[in-house]
Amino acid sequence: MVRLVRYLKPYTLLLLAVLVALLIQAWADLSLPDYMSRIVNYGIQQNGVETPVPEALRDQTFERLKLFLTDEERAQVEAAYTRVDSSSADYAALVKRYPALSEQPIWVRKALSAQDIKALTSPLGRAWLAVSAIERIMSDPQAAATIGKQMGVDLSKLPAGTDLFTLLPKMPAPQRTALIERLNQQAEALGESMVNQMAVVAVRMEYQALGMDVTALQNAYILRTGGTMLLLALLGAVCTVTVGYLAARTAAGVARDLRQDVFRKVTFFSGAEFEKFSTASLITRTTNDVTQLQMVLMMMVRMVVYAPILGIGAIIRASGKGSTMWWLIAVAVSILLSLIFIVFTVATPRFKLIQKLVDRLNLVTRESLSGMMVIRAFNTQEHELQRFDRTNRDLTSTMLFVSRVIVVMMPAMMLIMNGLMLAIVWVGAHEVAKANMQVGDMMAFMQYALQIVMSFLMVSIMFIILPRAAVSADRVADVLETPISIQDPPQPRAFPEPFVPVIEFDHVGFRYPGAEENVLCGITFTAQPGQVVGIIGSTGSGKSTLVNLIPRFYDVSEGAIRISGVDIREVRLADLHDKIGYVPQRGLLFSGTLASNLRYADENAPDEVVQEAISIAQAREVVESRPEGLEAPIAQGGTNVSGGQRQRLAIARALVKRAPIYIFDDSFSALDFRTEAALRRALRTALRDSTVLIVTQRVSSILHADQIIVLDEGVIVGKGTHEELMATCPEYREIVFSQLRQEDLQTLVTVGA
């Protein structure tokens, strides 16, 4: 993976933008449960009253509250509120909101910062608690006794109807301070959130006393919070879409760049590099592997980066909500991870086995198809079916096992999640009872817990996917990092003018990279202009390899090849290829039309040249048999023309080039003898001035060549004309006799001559 990191470089800005968007998205996603819990906590449970610091209160209540504040706190509170009565400037507006103002003066909260309100929360909460307790004492003597006992004051002797609030200010200062002290202790025991919740009930009653519309207040709160929540959700959605957009562009872009670079690289590979990777592997590396990387990159950006951000954020927030419960999440996550681990250690080796069995099934089927005639001839259908059935059974049972292991995941994960929720409710209920948290907080914690578990899940999935992607990445990087072994020389020479197509092999040896033995050894010969040189030998004797050295598909390992007196390694490859007309072993055509194939060497070749090439190559009937003529379509690989037609077209394609050197690499094999004979006759005239090399296994193809080179296991065992070789070269004679009977040969040679 690391080896391809530089491909991300052009997308650095996009990726940074993704990061920012992801952070915002995470923030939005994480804040949502917070707002949800606020709707339940404050909106529904506290009827829209958020804090014990009321927005307004009656003069009387204000005075009562102050009784339970220290001097310092009292000053703070007084500074936070303004007294309003009928003479105030904004009386008209305020009396509408607080109808009680018409009867008495009230105190209205100034515009305070959230921090200021927070500072006032705790003292006012306690004060509310005290005031409401005393109010209950006054209205209910029985309750007074209990509450008094709690406070350590005997209130039972209090005469009925006594206004305690008038009594309190008259208390001696130390006694009052002690009372406040005791109240504070009481509040401490309850916990701040409980105090606040109790105070809020009092605040709501105060609002009612002020004549405010409490229901409207509640609805307004829910709507306000809901609105904010929606905005957040919208922001989150916008960010997700942005991330999706940027990630798609980045992933597709990186894939495009990789594909382009790999293709460019491979285009300039020499035969040695193709040998090293194999063509099939190079194709998958350029296509499937890159596509694989694109998918993984997309997921990486959207999930791998996001999951930890979300997870960490959720952990931070959840610990704020229920710091005593996070161990529940840890337990759930570790159970989940063990589950994934177990399932995958059990399943992974079987996945590989499945792949093997599928290959096996394919093999057996393929053999059934390719051997159909043999199978029917030997009546072995039953036997084949048994072979198939064995593999089919193995495959089915292995797949069944793996599926059943994998199927565990879903229900088990649901169980873990649900179990976690239940545990949170149970443990949370106790926390709530201890007033360590509110019910709404507990619910929010449940949401965070889910998010944390999910993010762990996502990360663990990535750990399963990444190794596979890493394999693809390495395969692609291997191609990109492979040096091209055959390149233009730094200071290329030009072929001398006029160009003389003399090909000289000077003690040439060749071995494939990494091979132990030479394929060719000590090859020395010269092909003169106008000569036809035949190269013959059995399969594996190195014939094709020999001619592949001329266009530098491979470079010689020893010795040198000179054309027109120049070592071919000293000229530019394009210049070299310009001089060579090459006809490959399989008549390889490209998709397009007949014309596009014939003009492959020169798009602007004049019609006469093309027509002449068609005639020489005996390809006229190929063109004429098609209604579209030269515009007839050719399928990929030329599969819609027969083998013999392909070979003739490939020959015509090379002839259009009008090159001084021609190489025919076993290019007549699919032609019948008659066509081949006609073709050879035509070639002889057309390529009068060119140097022609013909690789073949058929003696008849080269019987009349100017020079025949007999190869056996990479060594030249004979060199000369047919007659010379018949006299001197036993290997040549062996080849000839295996193909033609001696007497036939004599007739033939006489007929020919």
Binding site: V241, G244, F274, R376, I465, F590, Y600, D672, F673, E734
Partner: protein, 622 residues
């Protein structure tokens, strides 16, 4: 979680491997006859009814248990909440832990049962789908052996292989996934709906006002992204095709200095691919955030209404909480259902391809009262034979010949003249369109194929071996042959010597590509098989090339030995063979144009004579 279910990557032959489909809504093709295909697929479920019934029940129970969960959990939170309120008010005795504890215990039980039933359902359904896959594969394999060779002329092997693996796989994978998703989604949605209604019909109404909106959005996104996915698929095809072509023809590209043109074309394809790739990825990534946002919208709406209802004391806080949870669990099955219809299309398309294959025409059945053919005499008669691979294109127009027992017949003609057609007719791989071929006076169609073929031995040029030991491959000529018989046949076919020089001798494994022994050795092995089969009549295809000279000599010796005392038809390339034949059948453009002995034919000065001479003319200097 979806990807955990995807299993190993299986790249079948012919396929181009994974193309990166969308999370759901694959840009798959559609079945032509969706209903018919699905009905036929349903017949495969027969015999699995008990398992299906139980898993349906398990699915319903599992879903119901997980649905009632939130409602019951809501009770617990409500109780908790009431307890807290009582504490604040100073009334009551605080939180009732016994009650909450009991509820939670009940829930633990329910969730446990739900998971157990969920697994039971998955367990049973995978069993059913794997069994269907097994049967489909088996049926395809059996079908292959019952089909006429004609079918395989027009179909490439990759296509058939892709049915055995990819298509069957798609059917089985999507089937178990679909069945369980279909059931759980429908049950969940119904159940959730009921639960929501029991909490508050007003809130349900509000929640459902928003639902259609997300359905519309899902539909739109799927539609758009499918368009780009199809495009991406097409362009990927172009890129892959170009890569395959250029890499395959690398030397040609280089030799013709075609690098720049190839690159130019690649860049164009690659750019197109990029455009469609990012668009398809982007569009499919739109779905989640949009659906989520709409989910939040309904959440707020429900919260506002719920808050109001709570103030009116119409519902409890726990109910609101449960309701919100239900709302969330409603969107998921909805998305799944939208997906199921898509996946079902895929299933149908794959199943249709399999069924189409299974419905292909089979060989005509053997006659019910076959003529007996124990030991063939060897009179072979071609009586006005007319034949074509397709009825429109007749390749043998009117061929009549009579071959006496023990004769040696050479079939000659230029490449592609249809020489192997004769062989295929004799072996009854194909049936004549008109006329008849008679063996010992009986029309070949009167025999059982098995009986007829037992009397013919065949040695073809492209030697067919399979992945297995050399011993297994040799024994293929007669499966019940003893080891000694195999060795004897190997000796007769000149196989024994080279086999003994191999690393494990007869136990050496022929690899999957059958590339670890040479072409010539392969041919010798097929000759050995023919020895083992010991047929009355031989059909030989002489090798033309690609065999080294020493092996070539061995092959000729082995073939000569095999032919001794047997009547034989030889697709001949060698003059010696042709000259020694009792009868030469000269084929040209699919028809037998001349017949007779070498001398007769030369004397006639017709096509044969020209063919004979032409082989050598070209070598004459111009």
């Amino acid at each position: 979680m979806g990807m955990m279910m995807m299993g190993p990557r299986r790249s079948g032959p012919g396929g181009r491997g994974p193309q990166g489909g969308p999370p759901f809504a694959q840009a798959g093709e559609k079945a032509r006859d969706f209903k018919g295909t699905m009905l036929r697929l349903l017949t495969y479920l027969k015999g699995h009814y008990p398992a299906l019934g139980i898993s349906l029940g398990a699915a319903i129970l599992s879903t119901i248990f997980s649905i009632v969960g939130p409602k019951i959990l809501g009770k617990a939170t409500t109780k908790l909440f009431e307890g807290v309120l009582a504490q604040i008010m100073g009334t009551g005795e605080g939180i009732d832990f016994t009650y909450i504890g009991n509820i939670l215990l009940l829930l633990v039980g329910l969730y446990l049962l739900s998971s157990v039933f969920g697994y039971l359902q998955g367990w049973l359904l995978t069993g059913v789908s794997m069994d269907i896959a097994y049967r489909l594969r088996k049926e395809i394999a059996e079908k292959i052996h019952r089909m006429p060779l004609k079918y395989f002329d027009g179909t490439n092997h990759g296509e058939i292989l892709s049915r055995v693996t990819n298509d069957v796989d798609t059917v089985s994978q999507t089937l178990s996934q679909n069945l369980s998703q279909l059931v759980t989604s429908v049950v969940t949605m119904l159940g959730v709906l009921v639960m929501m209604l029991t909490i508050s019909w007003q809130m349900t109404l509000v929640a459902f006002v928003v639902m259609p909106l997300s359905l519309v959005i899902i539909g739109q996104v799927i539609k758009r992204s499918q368009k780009y996915f199809r495009q991406q698929q097409d362009y990927l095809g172009h890129v892959n095709g170009h890569v395959e072509e250029m890499y395959g023809g690398h030397f040609v590209v280089r030799a013709f200095n075609g690098e720049a043109r190839s690159l130019e074309r690649f860049t164009a394809y690659n750019t197109q691919l990029y455009e469609s790739a990012w668009k398809s990825q982007f569009f499919s990534s739109l779905m989640m955030p949009m659906v989520n946002f709409i989910g939040n919208l309904s959440y707020v709406a429900v919260a506002v209404l719920g808050g109001w209802l709570a103030v009116q004391k119409l519902i409890t806080v726990g109910d609101i909480q449960a309701f919100i949870q239900y709302m969330r669990s409603f969107t998921q099955p909805m998305g799944q259902l939208a997906n199921v219809t898509n996946v079902l299309q895929q299933t149908a398309a794959a199943a249709e391809r399999v069924f189409e294959f299974l419905a292909e025409e089979e060989e005509t059945p053997d006659p019910e009262a076959p003529a007996q053919l124990d030991k063939v005499e060897g009179t072979v008669e071609f009586d006005h034979v007319r034949f074509g691979y397709t009825p429109e294109k007749v390749v043998i127009k009117d061929f009549t010949a009579r071959v006496q027992p023990g004769q040696r017949i050479a079939i000659v003609g230029p490449t592609g003249a249809g020489k192997t057609t004769m062989v295929k007719l004799l072996m009854r791989f194909y049936d004549v369109l008109d006329g008849a071929i008679r063996v010992d006076g009986h029309d070949v169609r009167e025999f059982r194929r098995r009986d007829l073929r037992r009397n013919f031995g065949m040695v073809l040029q492209d030697a067919w071996l399979f992945n297995g030991t050399i011993m297994d491959n040799l024994r293929y000529g007669r499966l019940d042959a003893t080891d000694e018989e195999v060795f004897a046949a190997a000796k007769a076919a000149r196989v024994d010597h080279f086999v003994r020089t191999l690393p494990q001798g007869y136990q050496m494994e022929i690899n999957e590509e059958t590339s670890n022994i040479s072409q010539g050795q392969k041919q010798l092995m097929t000759i050995a098989r023919a020895f083992l089969a010991d047929p009355r009549i031989l059909i030989l295809d002489e090798a033309t090339s690609s065999v080294d000279t020493r092996t070539e000599v061995l092959i000729q010796q082995a073939m000569a030995e095999l032919m001794r005392g047997r009547m034989s038809f030889i697709i001949a390339h060698r003059l010696s063979t042709i000259r020694n034949a009792d009868l030469i059948l000269v084929m040209h453009e699919g028809d037998i144009v001349e017949q007779g002995t070498h001398e007769e034919l030369l004397a006639r000065g017709g096509f044969y004579a020209r063919l004979y001479q032409s082989q050598f003319e070209g070598t004459a200097p111009a």
